[in-house]
Symmetry: C2
Subunit: 227 residues, 2 copies
Amino acid sequence: MREAYHGELASIGASLVEMARLADSAMGRATTALLDADGRLAQSVISADERVDDVHRDLENRAIALLARQQPVATELRIVVTSLRIGADLERAADLAEHVAKLARRRFPDYVVPRDLQSTMLEMGRTAQRLMTEAADVVASRDVGRALQLERDDDRMDELHRTLFQHLLDERWEHGVEAAVDVTLAGRYYERFADHAVSVARRVVYLVTGEYADELTPPVVPLIVRA
Amino acid sequence: MREAYHGELASIGASLVEMARLADSAMGRATTALLDADGRLAQSVISADERVDDVHRDLENRAIALLARQQPVATELRIVVTSLRIGADLERAADLAEHVAKLARRRFPDYVVPRDLQSTMLEMGRTAQRLMTEAADVVASRDVGRALQLERDDDRMDELHRTLFQHLLDERWEHGVEAAVDVTLAGRYYERFADHAVSVARRVVYLVTGEYADELTPPVVPLIVRA
């Protein structure tokens, strides 16, 4: 019985890692579609979001079935409930990658991002992906030290977001209002995607320690606890 | 034992209704702050968000304690898990009201919204509030018929959002890029707030019927099920 239980818990963890990798890959392809004005690639990102939703719904059903059948308490209950929350974050992150792809599709065959902002946007995409790659690793390893590090890596995204706004609000902006609207939305999608990656990491901290990330005083000795 | 259980479940429901009303009121005040360029009101909305976070955290703790102590199955398990999700939606909705207030504060004493868009933005605010008022009533009444209606009411928000973009992208737009960026963000915040209200209603459908809103074929006979 306990063995079956731990097997199910591990499989829920594996689905979360899969979701994080799908979101990561979706954001990578969406960024390419956005910067290369690649309508076909954008469409493929949009179509692929269904896969994330399927994994998510399946994971939720398994988690709820686990609660019903095994009636976990204490640490194990915390793991199941937190897994549900991590799943919601990842589902939403994948939606945001889809939103970036939809921006690319809406303007196709035109480019959404003016040339002088391409490198900033590319770095936002890469930073978003790096954060999600780390979030996937944190979910897999339950490494609290790395989870707390991820929050600091998010500072780079905030910097890039500020750079984006400086460009937008510079009086020399010459790309018109439509480009400004698109760039504003894209920036928001990247920022929110990064927020969800950070949220996943914070939830892993809670899952492992039972304490919220903002209540821990660094430096925290990395703990590795496996179900 | 069962009586205590149902009392706790009812108190979780009451906290959800409280959160929805706080989010509703926050969005109302944030909209006034935005349209009247009222920095003090904006600040009060921002400060009040803590209250929502407190109610949310407390609600989550009680729901998890309930899972641990009472080990509900079937319908009751579905109610607790769904309540956790509704809480997450409402917490986020309140954040979006805070974001609107932050836009107002950032530009204070200037106005964020150009005069010719004020009425559209005001109606977005009112529609957002109406949806959240309905969501609160749906949570309180568990009325599936009204929950499904709410989804149709959200069409008005989509229309307003399209109107906003038509203004923004009209070549006669004369308010510059900064106003366009702010209006884009505000529009996004209202739209997402409405999405969360709809999501709350959909979750109530699932909570009551065990089926997802998009799997039900209308017309659905309103069911009222109380825990």
